[in-house]
Point group: C2
Chain length 278, copies 2
Protein backbone atom coordinates (compact mmCIF):
# COMPACT_ATOMS: atom_id res chain seq x y z
CA UNK A 1 0.00 0.00 0.00
CA UNK A 2 2.95 2.32 0.67
CA UNK A 3 4.15 4.23 -2.37
CA UNK A 4 7.61 5.73 -1.98
CA UNK A 5 6.98 8.03 -4.92
CA UNK A 6 4.35 9.87 -2.91
CA UNK A 7 5.44 12.80 -0.76
CA UNK A 8 2.95 13.98 1.84
CA UNK A 9 3.53 17.18 3.82
CA UNK A 10 2.11 17.41 7.35
CA UNK A 11 1.74 20.50 9.50
CA UNK A 12 -0.50 21.86 12.26
CA UNK A 13 -1.00 24.82 14.57
CA UNK A 14 -0.67 23.03 17.90
CA UNK A 15 3.08 22.75 17.36
CA UNK A 16 5.44 19.99 16.28
CA UNK A 17 5.26 18.29 19.70
CA UNK A 18 1.48 17.82 19.55
CA UNK A 19 0.07 14.30 19.91
CA UNK A 20 -2.49 14.92 17.15
CA UNK A 21 0.28 15.49 14.63
CA UNK A 22 2.14 12.38 15.76
CA UNK A 23 -1.02 10.24 15.50
CA UNK A 24 -1.55 11.59 12.00
CA UNK A 25 2.04 10.81 11.07
CA UNK A 26 1.73 7.22 12.31
CA UNK A 27 -1.12 6.57 9.87
CA UNK A 28 -0.01 8.67 6.90
CA UNK A 29 3.46 7.12 6.74
CA UNK A 30 1.69 3.93 5.63
CA UNK A 31 0.86 5.73 2.35
CA UNK A 32 4.21 7.19 1.31
CA UNK A 33 7.05 9.44 2.32
CA UNK A 34 6.14 12.02 4.90
CA UNK A 35 7.72 15.36 5.68
CA UNK A 36 6.60 17.24 8.79
CA UNK A 37 7.14 21.00 8.85
CA UNK A 38 5.33 22.49 11.82
CA UNK A 39 5.53 25.41 14.27
CA UNK A 40 8.03 25.00 17.10
CA UNK A 41 5.26 25.82 19.61
CA UNK A 42 1.52 26.29 19.74
CA UNK A 43 0.13 28.88 17.33
CA UNK A 44 -3.60 28.61 17.90
CA UNK A 45 -6.06 31.23 16.63
CA UNK A 46 -3.33 32.88 14.58
CA UNK A 47 -5.66 33.02 11.59
CA UNK A 48 -3.91 33.27 8.26
CA UNK A 49 -0.93 35.11 9.69
CA UNK A 50 2.43 35.16 7.96
CA UNK A 51 5.67 36.42 9.43
CA UNK A 52 7.05 39.38 7.51
CA UNK A 53 8.62 41.50 10.22
CA UNK A 54 10.89 38.85 11.70
CA UNK A 55 13.22 36.22 10.30
CA UNK A 56 12.23 32.57 10.49
CA UNK A 57 14.35 29.92 12.15
CA UNK A 58 14.24 26.27 11.16
CA UNK A 59 15.44 23.26 13.19
CA UNK A 60 15.60 19.54 12.32
CA UNK A 61 13.13 17.57 14.37
CA UNK A 62 13.60 15.54 16.44
CA UNK A 63 16.93 17.19 17.29
CA UNK A 64 18.74 13.83 17.00
CA UNK A 65 18.14 14.15 13.26
CA UNK A 66 20.46 17.10 13.02
CA UNK A 67 23.48 15.40 11.48
CA UNK A 68 21.48 13.46 8.91
CA UNK A 69 19.31 16.44 7.97
CA UNK A 70 21.19 19.70 7.71
CA UNK A 71 19.60 23.05 7.07
CA UNK A 72 18.98 23.71 4.30
CA UNK A 73 18.51 20.08 3.26
CA UNK A 74 21.06 18.69 0.81
CA UNK A 75 18.37 16.85 -1.12
CA UNK A 76 14.60 16.69 -1.28
CA UNK A 77 14.64 12.90 -1.41
CA UNK A 78 13.36 12.60 2.13
CA UNK A 79 13.34 9.28 3.90
CA UNK A 80 11.98 8.40 7.31
CA UNK A 81 14.54 7.95 10.01
CA UNK A 82 14.56 4.96 12.30
CA UNK A 83 13.31 7.03 15.19
CA UNK A 84 10.11 7.45 13.29
CA UNK A 85 9.66 11.09 12.43
CA UNK A 86 11.37 13.27 9.92
CA UNK A 87 10.75 16.92 10.02
CA UNK A 88 11.52 20.53 10.71
CA UNK A 89 10.32 22.87 13.43
CA UNK A 90 9.79 26.47 12.33
CA UNK A 91 9.63 29.62 14.45
CA UNK A 92 6.51 30.75 12.61
CA UNK A 93 2.85 30.25 11.87
CA UNK A 94 1.25 27.29 10.07
CA UNK A 95 1.10 29.37 6.86
CA UNK A 96 4.82 30.16 7.26
CA UNK A 97 5.53 26.44 7.62
CA UNK A 98 3.84 25.55 4.33
CA UNK A 99 5.53 28.40 2.49
CA UNK A 100 9.00 27.61 3.78
CA UNK A 101 8.52 23.88 3.23
CA UNK A 102 7.67 24.42 -0.42
CA UNK A 103 9.89 27.33 -1.42
CA UNK A 104 12.98 26.58 0.69
CA UNK A 105 13.13 23.07 2.18
CA UNK A 106 11.56 21.19 -0.74
CA UNK A 107 13.11 23.54 -3.29
CA UNK A 108 9.76 23.65 -5.09
CA UNK A 109 9.31 19.90 -5.29
CA UNK A 110 5.54 19.83 -4.93
CA UNK A 111 4.12 17.43 -2.31
CA UNK A 112 1.32 15.20 -3.56
CA UNK A 113 -0.84 16.06 -0.57
CA UNK A 114 -0.85 18.38 2.42
CA UNK A 115 -2.64 17.53 5.66
CA UNK A 116 -2.92 20.01 8.52
CA UNK A 117 -3.76 18.62 11.95
CA UNK A 118 -4.98 16.68 13.74
CA UNK A 119 -6.01 19.80 15.60
CA UNK A 120 -6.83 19.43 19.27
CA UNK A 121 -10.19 21.27 19.22
CA UNK A 122 -12.89 21.90 16.64
CA UNK A 123 -12.58 24.15 13.61
CA UNK A 124 -16.21 24.60 12.67
CA UNK A 125 -18.41 27.59 11.87
CA UNK A 126 -16.84 31.00 12.38
CA UNK A 127 -13.82 29.34 14.00
CA UNK A 128 -12.69 28.47 10.50
CA UNK A 129 -11.66 32.08 9.85
CA UNK A 130 -9.50 32.19 13.00
CA UNK A 131 -7.96 28.78 12.47
CA UNK A 132 -4.25 28.33 11.93
CA UNK A 133 -4.93 24.68 11.10
CA UNK A 134 -7.19 25.65 8.22
CA UNK A 135 -4.84 28.44 7.09
CA UNK A 136 -2.11 25.86 6.43
CA UNK A 137 -4.48 23.97 4.12
CA UNK A 138 -5.35 27.29 2.46
CA UNK A 139 -1.67 27.90 1.85
CA UNK A 140 -1.20 24.44 0.39
CA UNK A 141 -4.13 25.05 -1.94
CA UNK A 142 -2.65 28.35 -3.11
CA UNK A 143 0.47 26.35 -4.02
CA UNK A 144 -1.80 23.95 -5.94
CA UNK A 145 -1.20 21.06 -3.50
CA UNK A 146 -4.35 19.00 -2.74
CA UNK A 147 -4.94 19.84 0.91
CA UNK A 148 -7.18 19.20 3.87
CA UNK A 149 -7.39 20.28 7.50
CA UNK A 150 -8.57 17.84 10.15
CA UNK A 151 -9.61 18.53 13.73
CA UNK A 152 -10.85 16.48 16.67
CA UNK A 153 -13.65 18.36 18.39
CA UNK A 154 -12.52 18.38 21.99
CA UNK A 155 -10.18 20.37 24.16
CA UNK A 156 -9.99 17.54 26.70
CA UNK A 157 -7.48 14.69 26.72
CA UNK A 158 -8.25 12.80 23.56
CA UNK A 159 -7.57 9.68 21.52
CA UNK A 160 -6.58 10.72 18.01
CA UNK A 161 -6.33 7.22 16.57
CA UNK A 162 -9.75 7.03 14.88
CA UNK A 163 -9.39 10.53 13.39
CA UNK A 164 -5.94 9.54 12.12
CA UNK A 165 -7.29 6.41 10.46
CA UNK A 166 -10.02 8.49 8.85
CA UNK A 167 -7.40 10.98 7.63
CA UNK A 168 -5.55 8.13 5.92
CA UNK A 169 -8.72 6.92 4.25
CA UNK A 170 -9.61 10.42 3.06
CA UNK A 171 -6.04 10.96 1.87
CA UNK A 172 -6.33 7.86 -0.31
CA UNK A 173 -9.58 9.10 -1.86
CA UNK A 174 -8.17 12.57 -2.52
CA UNK A 175 -5.03 11.11 -4.09
CA UNK A 176 -7.36 9.19 -6.45
CA UNK A 177 -9.96 11.90 -7.18
CA UNK A 178 -8.01 15.13 -6.81
CA UNK A 179 -9.64 18.37 -5.71
CA UNK A 180 -10.77 21.32 -7.84
CA UNK A 181 -8.30 24.19 -8.23
CA UNK A 182 -8.57 26.55 -5.27
CA UNK A 183 -10.70 24.18 -3.19
CA UNK A 184 -9.77 22.18 -0.12
CA UNK A 185 -11.53 20.27 2.64
CA UNK A 186 -12.11 21.18 6.26
CA UNK A 187 -12.72 18.00 8.26
CA UNK A 188 -13.97 17.77 11.84
CA UNK A 189 -14.21 14.46 13.69
CA UNK A 190 -16.45 14.14 16.75
CA UNK A 191 -14.55 13.27 19.93
CA UNK A 192 -16.63 10.21 20.77
CA UNK A 193 -15.80 6.50 20.77
CA UNK A 194 -15.58 5.08 17.26
CA UNK A 195 -18.73 2.98 17.63
CA UNK A 196 -20.78 6.12 18.35
CA UNK A 197 -19.83 7.88 15.11
CA UNK A 198 -22.93 7.85 12.94
CA UNK A 199 -21.51 8.65 9.51
CA UNK A 200 -20.05 11.36 7.30
CA UNK A 201 -21.83 14.60 6.47
CA UNK A 202 -20.85 16.94 3.61
CA UNK A 203 -21.60 20.32 5.15
CA UNK A 204 -21.44 24.07 4.77
CA UNK A 205 -19.55 26.34 7.17
CA UNK A 206 -21.89 27.20 10.04
CA UNK A 207 -22.63 30.86 10.68
CA UNK A 208 -23.66 30.76 14.33
CA UNK A 209 -22.17 33.75 16.16
CA UNK A 210 -20.47 34.04 19.50
CA UNK A 211 -21.65 35.65 22.67
CA UNK A 212 -18.33 37.00 23.90
CA UNK A 213 -17.09 38.54 27.07
CA UNK A 214 -13.87 40.13 28.16
CA UNK A 215 -13.17 39.19 31.73
CA UNK A 216 -11.74 42.22 33.43
CA UNK A 217 -9.06 41.45 36.00
CA UNK A 218 -6.37 43.23 38.00
CA UNK A 219 -2.73 42.21 37.78
CA UNK A 220 -0.41 42.16 40.85
CA UNK A 221 0.38 45.84 40.16
CA UNK A 222 -3.38 46.56 40.29
CA UNK A 223 -3.53 47.36 36.58
CA UNK A 224 -6.50 46.24 34.51
CA UNK A 225 -6.25 43.56 31.87
CA UNK A 226 -8.79 41.68 29.80
CA UNK A 227 -9.17 38.07 28.80
CA UNK A 228 -11.47 36.88 26.01
CA UNK A 229 -14.07 34.19 26.67
CA UNK A 230 -17.16 33.22 24.72
CA UNK A 231 -19.54 30.59 23.47
CA UNK A 232 -21.63 30.07 20.36
CA UNK A 233 -25.28 31.07 20.39
CA UNK A 234 -28.18 30.20 18.10
CA UNK A 235 -26.46 27.02 16.99
CA UNK A 236 -29.82 25.26 16.74
CA UNK A 237 -31.15 27.85 14.27
CA UNK A 238 -28.21 27.59 11.92
CA UNK A 239 -29.52 24.67 9.89
CA UNK A 240 -28.98 20.91 9.67
CA UNK A 241 -26.53 21.23 6.77
CA UNK A 242 -23.79 22.91 8.84
CA UNK A 243 -20.53 21.56 10.21
CA UNK A 244 -21.59 22.39 13.77
CA UNK A 245 -24.84 20.46 13.40
CA UNK A 246 -23.01 17.41 12.06
CA UNK A 247 -20.64 17.39 15.04
CA UNK A 248 -23.50 17.81 17.51
CA UNK A 249 -25.01 14.70 15.92
CA UNK A 250 -21.80 12.65 16.10
CA UNK A 251 -21.20 12.80 12.36
CA UNK A 252 -17.81 13.49 10.74
CA UNK A 253 -18.15 16.86 9.00
CA UNK A 254 -16.43 17.59 5.67
CA UNK A 255 -16.81 21.13 4.33
CA UNK A 256 -15.40 22.08 0.93
CA UNK A 257 -13.89 25.55 1.32
CA UNK A 258 -12.08 28.06 -0.85
CA UNK A 259 -10.26 31.36 -0.36
CA UNK A 260 -12.14 33.54 -2.84
CA UNK A 261 -13.94 35.83 -0.40
CA UNK A 262 -15.87 37.68 -3.13
CA UNK A 263 -19.62 37.84 -2.51
CA UNK A 264 -20.67 37.39 -6.15
CA UNK A 265 -24.37 37.65 -5.33
CA UNK A 266 -23.92 41.18 -4.00
CA UNK A 267 -21.45 42.25 -6.66
CA UNK A 268 -24.08 43.16 -9.26
CA UNK A 269 -26.26 44.94 -6.72
CA UNK A 270 -23.27 46.99 -5.62
CA UNK A 271 -22.75 48.10 -9.22
CA UNK A 272 -26.28 49.51 -9.11
CA UNK A 273 -25.24 51.90 -6.34
CA UNK A 274 -23.54 53.80 -9.21
CA UNK A 275 -20.84 55.23 -6.97
CA UNK A 276 -19.17 58.32 -8.42
CA UNK A 277 -15.89 60.01 -7.69
CA UNK A 278 -17.53 63.44 -7.50
Amino acid sequence: MKNDNLLILLTNDDGIHAPGLFALYQEIKKLGKVLIVAPDSERSAVGHAITLSQPLRVWPWPPANRAAHPIPPKSTNFTDTDDGVWGYAVSGTPADCVKIAYWALLQERKPDLLISGINHGSNTGLNVIYSGTVSAATEGTILNIPSFAISLTTYEEADFSFAAKFARKLATVILQNGLPVGTYLNVNVPAVPENQIRGIAITRQGQAVYREKFEQRKDPQNKTYYWLTGYKINLENDGPDTDDYAILNNMISITPVHYDLTNYQFLDKLKQWKLKLE
Copy 2:
Protein backbone atom coordinates in the same frame (compact mmCIF):
# COMPACT_ATOMS: atom_id res chain seq x y z
CA MET B 1 -23.78 67.31 8.06
CA LYS B 2 -22.42 66.02 11.38
CA ASN B 3 -24.85 63.80 13.27
CA ASP B 4 -23.97 63.35 16.94
CA ASN B 5 -26.27 60.33 17.14
CA LEU B 6 -23.95 58.43 14.84
CA LEU B 7 -21.10 56.44 16.35
CA ILE B 8 -18.37 55.34 13.99
CA LEU B 9 -15.64 52.94 15.09
CA LEU B 10 -12.21 53.19 13.45
CA THR B 11 -9.39 50.69 13.62
CA ASN B 12 -6.45 49.51 11.51
CA ASP B 13 -3.50 47.14 11.50
CA ASP B 14 -0.71 49.68 11.08
CA GLY B 15 -1.18 50.74 14.71
CA ILE B 16 -2.82 53.67 16.44
CA HIS B 17 0.06 56.02 15.55
CA ALA B 18 -0.32 55.49 11.81
CA PRO B 19 -0.89 58.53 9.59
CA GLY B 20 -3.50 56.66 7.51
CA LEU B 21 -5.70 56.24 10.56
CA PHE B 22 -5.32 59.88 11.52
CA ALA B 23 -6.21 61.05 8.01
CA LEU B 24 -9.29 58.83 8.13
CA TYR B 25 -10.26 60.23 11.50
CA GLN B 26 -9.96 63.81 10.25
CA GLU B 27 -12.56 63.16 7.58
CA ILE B 28 -14.89 60.78 9.42
CA LYS B 29 -15.32 63.06 12.42
CA LYS B 30 -17.25 65.35 10.08
CA LEU B 31 -20.00 62.70 10.00
CA GLY B 32 -20.54 61.91 13.67
CA LYS B 33 -18.93 60.73 16.85
CA VAL B 34 -15.80 58.68 16.33
CA LEU B 35 -14.16 56.10 18.56
CA ILE B 36 -10.71 54.80 17.64
CA VAL B 37 -9.69 51.41 19.03
CA ALA B 38 -6.52 50.26 17.34
CA PRO B 39 -3.42 48.13 17.98
CA ASP B 40 -0.69 49.80 20.04
CA SER B 41 1.84 48.91 17.33
CA GLU B 42 1.97 47.56 13.81
CA ARG B 43 0.23 44.22 13.28
CA SER B 44 0.58 43.69 9.54
CA ALA B 45 -0.08 40.30 7.92
CA VAL B 46 -1.56 38.97 11.13
CA GLY B 47 -4.50 37.57 9.20
CA HIS B 48 -7.60 37.00 11.25
CA ALA B 49 -5.66 36.34 14.43
CA ILE B 50 -7.21 36.72 17.85
CA THR B 51 -5.37 36.68 21.14
CA LEU B 52 -6.44 33.80 23.35
CA SER B 53 -3.24 32.83 25.13
CA GLN B 54 -2.38 36.23 26.55
CA PRO B 55 -4.31 38.97 28.34
CA LEU B 56 -5.07 42.20 26.50
CA ARG B 57 -4.07 45.62 27.78
CA VAL B 58 -5.93 48.78 26.91
CA TRP B 59 -4.67 52.37 27.18
CA PRO B 60 -6.44 55.70 26.55
CA TRP B 61 -5.01 57.42 23.53
CA PRO B 62 -3.50 59.93 23.30
CA PRO B 63 -2.15 59.42 26.84
CA ALA B 64 -3.18 62.97 27.82
CA ASN B 65 -6.76 61.69 27.66
CA ARG B 66 -6.21 59.41 30.60
CA ALA B 67 -8.00 61.40 33.28
CA ALA B 68 -11.03 62.13 31.13
CA HIS B 69 -11.28 58.60 29.81
CA PRO B 70 -10.64 55.91 32.38
CA ILE B 71 -10.49 52.20 31.71
CA PRO B 72 -13.03 50.79 31.52
CA PRO B 73 -14.97 53.85 30.32
CA LYS B 74 -17.61 55.21 32.69
CA SER B 75 -20.02 55.78 29.82
CA THR B 76 -20.33 54.97 26.15
CA ASN B 77 -21.37 58.52 25.31
CA PHE B 78 -18.05 59.29 23.68
CA THR B 79 -17.19 62.84 22.73
CA ASP B 80 -14.18 64.11 20.85
CA THR B 81 -11.58 65.81 22.94
CA ASP B 82 -10.11 69.17 22.04
CA ASP B 83 -6.84 67.57 21.05
CA GLY B 84 -8.69 65.93 18.27
CA VAL B 85 -8.63 62.21 18.79
CA TRP B 86 -10.43 60.00 21.21
CA GLY B 87 -9.46 56.44 21.46
CA TYR B 88 -7.87 53.39 22.97
CA ALA B 89 -4.69 51.53 22.10
CA VAL B 90 -4.90 47.75 22.55
CA SER B 91 -2.05 45.23 22.91
CA GLY B 92 -3.68 42.97 20.35
CA THR B 93 -4.62 42.35 16.75
CA PRO B 94 -7.15 44.31 14.67
CA ALA B 95 -9.75 41.59 15.33
CA ASP B 96 -9.05 41.86 19.06
CA CYS B 97 -9.59 45.62 18.84
CA VAL B 98 -13.05 45.27 17.32
CA LYS B 99 -14.07 42.57 19.79
CA ILE B 100 -12.90 44.50 22.84
CA ALA B 101 -14.39 47.75 21.54
CA TYR B 102 -17.81 46.17 21.20
CA TRP B 103 -17.98 43.76 24.13
CA ALA B 104 -16.03 45.74 26.74
CA LEU B 105 -15.44 49.42 25.92
CA LEU B 106 -18.79 50.11 24.23
CA GLN B 107 -20.62 47.70 26.51
CA GLU B 108 -22.45 46.32 23.48
CA ARG B 109 -23.60 49.70 22.18
CA LYS B 110 -23.38 48.90 18.48
CA PRO B 111 -21.50 51.41 16.31
CA ASP B 112 -23.36 52.52 13.19
CA LEU B 113 -20.32 51.88 11.04
CA LEU B 114 -16.85 50.40 11.27
CA ILE B 115 -13.98 51.50 9.04
CA SER B 116 -10.61 49.78 9.08
CA GLY B 117 -7.68 51.68 7.61
CA ILE B 118 -6.46 53.59 5.83
CA ASN B 119 -3.91 50.84 5.37
CA HIS B 120 -0.48 51.84 4.16
CA GLY B 121 -0.19 49.26 1.35
CA SER B 122 -2.61 47.41 -0.88
CA ASN B 123 -4.97 44.65 0.23
CA THR B 124 -5.90 43.12 -3.09
CA GLY B 125 -6.00 39.58 -4.46
CA LEU B 126 -4.60 36.88 -2.20
CA ASN B 127 -3.34 39.56 0.18
CA VAL B 128 -6.92 39.84 1.42
CA ILE B 129 -6.63 36.56 3.31
CA TYR B 130 -3.48 37.72 5.12
CA SER B 131 -4.78 41.19 5.89
CA GLY B 132 -5.28 42.41 9.42
CA THR B 133 -7.02 45.48 7.98
CA VAL B 134 -9.64 43.33 6.30
CA SER B 135 -9.96 41.04 9.34
CA ALA B 136 -11.15 43.99 11.43
CA ALA B 137 -13.94 44.63 8.92
CA THR B 138 -14.75 40.91 9.00
CA GLU B 139 -15.06 41.10 12.76
CA GLY B 140 -17.33 44.15 12.56
CA THR B 141 -19.52 42.30 10.08
CA ILE B 142 -19.78 39.28 12.38
CA LEU B 143 -21.06 41.72 15.00
CA ASN B 144 -23.59 42.97 12.44
CA ILE B 145 -21.93 46.40 12.12
CA PRO B 146 -21.80 47.72 8.51
CA SER B 147 -18.08 47.64 7.79
CA PHE B 148 -15.46 48.38 5.22
CA ALA B 149 -11.69 48.16 4.92
CA ILE B 150 -9.76 50.78 2.96
CA SER B 151 -6.15 50.72 1.77
CA LEU B 152 -3.86 53.01 -0.17
CA THR B 153 -1.83 50.96 -2.61
CA THR B 154 1.70 52.06 -1.84
CA TYR B 155 4.38 51.27 0.69
CA GLU B 156 6.15 54.57 -0.04
CA GLU B 157 5.53 57.86 1.74
CA ALA B 158 1.97 58.72 0.85
CA ASP B 159 -0.75 61.35 0.97
CA PHE B 160 -3.85 59.80 2.50
CA SER B 161 -6.12 62.83 2.05
CA PHE B 162 -7.91 61.75 -1.14
CA ALA B 163 -8.48 58.21 0.16
CA ALA B 164 -9.82 59.70 3.40
CA LYS B 165 -12.27 61.91 1.50
CA PHE B 166 -13.40 58.91 -0.49
CA ALA B 167 -13.87 56.94 2.73
CA ARG B 168 -16.17 59.68 4.02
CA LYS B 169 -18.20 59.63 0.82
CA LEU B 170 -18.50 55.84 0.89
CA ALA B 171 -19.41 55.95 4.58
CA THR B 172 -22.30 58.27 3.78
CA VAL B 173 -23.60 55.94 1.06
CA ILE B 174 -23.33 52.88 3.31
CA LEU B 175 -25.10 54.66 6.15
CA GLN B 176 -27.95 55.33 3.67
CA ASN B 177 -28.07 51.97 1.85
CA GLY B 178 -26.83 49.52 4.45
CA LEU B 179 -25.01 46.32 3.53
CA PRO B 180 -26.37 42.76 3.32
CA VAL B 181 -25.95 40.60 6.41
CA GLY B 182 -22.51 38.99 6.43
CA THR B 183 -21.17 41.18 3.62
CA TYR B 184 -18.64 44.01 3.77
CA LEU B 185 -16.52 46.00 1.36
CA ASN B 186 -12.80 45.85 0.67
CA VAL B 187 -11.69 49.16 -0.85
CA ASN B 188 -8.32 49.90 -2.45
CA VAL B 189 -7.36 53.38 -3.62
CA PRO B 190 -4.54 53.84 -6.15
CA ALA B 191 -1.64 55.88 -4.81
CA VAL B 192 -1.65 58.44 -7.61
CA PRO B 193 -2.54 62.13 -7.68
CA GLU B 194 -6.29 62.69 -7.46
CA ASN B 195 -6.57 63.97 -11.03
CA GLN B 196 -5.14 60.67 -12.34
CA ILE B 197 -7.81 58.49 -10.72
CA ARG B 198 -10.02 57.25 -13.52
CA GLY B 199 -13.09 56.06 -11.66
CA ILE B 200 -14.52 53.36 -9.40
CA ALA B 201 -14.57 49.67 -10.29
CA ILE B 202 -16.72 47.06 -8.53
CA THR B 203 -14.41 44.04 -8.60
CA ARG B 204 -13.85 40.47 -7.54
CA GLN B 205 -10.90 39.37 -5.40
CA GLY B 206 -7.99 38.65 -7.73
CA GLN B 207 -6.48 35.16 -7.67
CA ALA B 208 -3.00 35.87 -9.02
CA VAL B 209 -0.45 33.84 -7.07
CA TYR B 210 2.92 34.75 -5.67
CA ARG B 211 6.34 33.69 -6.73
CA GLU B 212 7.97 33.54 -3.31
CA LYS B 213 11.46 33.15 -2.05
CA PHE B 214 13.01 32.71 1.34
CA GLU B 215 16.25 34.61 1.46
CA GLN B 216 18.71 32.52 3.39
CA ARG B 217 21.11 34.52 5.57
CA LYS B 218 23.56 33.97 8.40
CA ASP B 219 23.22 35.78 11.72
CA PRO B 220 26.26 37.13 13.65
CA GLN B 221 26.53 33.70 15.33
CA ASN B 222 26.72 32.12 11.85
CA LYS B 223 23.32 30.46 12.23
CA THR B 224 20.94 30.29 9.29
CA TYR B 225 17.74 32.27 9.18
CA TYR B 226 15.16 32.91 6.45
CA TRP B 227 13.28 35.98 5.34
CA LEU B 228 10.22 35.86 3.10
CA THR B 229 10.09 37.89 -0.11
CA GLY B 230 7.86 37.57 -3.14
CA TYR B 231 5.91 39.15 -5.94
CA LYS B 232 2.70 38.40 -7.80
CA ILE B 233 2.88 36.55 -11.10
CA ASN B 234 0.35 36.10 -13.90
CA LEU B 235 -1.46 39.28 -12.88
CA GLU B 236 -2.25 40.03 -16.50
CA ASN B 237 -4.06 36.69 -16.95
CA ASP B 238 -6.29 37.13 -13.94
CA GLY B 239 -9.01 39.08 -15.69
CA PRO B 240 -10.15 42.71 -16.04
CA ASP B 241 -12.80 42.34 -13.31
CA THR B 242 -10.27 41.92 -10.47
CA ASP B 243 -9.18 44.33 -7.75
CA ASP B 244 -5.56 44.11 -8.91
CA TYR B 245 -6.49 45.02 -12.48
CA ALA B 246 -8.50 48.05 -11.29
CA ILE B 247 -5.55 49.34 -9.28
CA LEU B 248 -3.14 48.82 -12.18
CA ASN B 249 -5.50 50.99 -14.23
CA ASN B 250 -5.73 53.76 -11.62
CA MET B 251 -9.29 52.89 -10.64
CA ILE B 252 -10.57 52.72 -7.06
CA SER B 253 -11.44 49.05 -6.44
CA ILE B 254 -14.41 48.03 -4.29
CA THR B 255 -14.85 44.28 -3.71
CA PRO B 256 -17.86 42.94 -1.80
CA VAL B 257 -16.57 40.15 0.44
CA HIS B 258 -17.97 37.71 2.99
CA TYR B 259 -16.62 35.18 5.46
CA ASP B 260 -18.55 32.11 4.37
CA LEU B 261 -15.69 30.07 2.92
CA THR B 262 -17.93 27.22 1.74
CA ASN B 263 -17.42 26.28 -1.90
CA TYR B 264 -21.09 25.59 -2.68
CA GLN B 265 -20.34 24.61 -6.26
CA PHE B 266 -18.16 21.72 -5.15
CA LEU B 267 -20.40 20.70 -2.25
CA ASP B 268 -22.77 18.61 -4.34
CA LYS B 269 -19.96 16.97 -6.27
CA LEU B 270 -18.29 16.04 -3.01
CA LYS B 271 -21.49 14.30 -1.92
CA GLN B 272 -21.14 12.12 -5.01
CA TRP B 273 -17.83 10.78 -3.70
CA LYS B 274 -20.08 8.74 -1.34
CA LEU B 275 -17.44 8.60 1.39
CA LYS B 276 -18.03 5.78 3.86
CA LEU B 277 -16.78 5.15 7.38
CA GLU B 278 -15.82 1.56 6.55
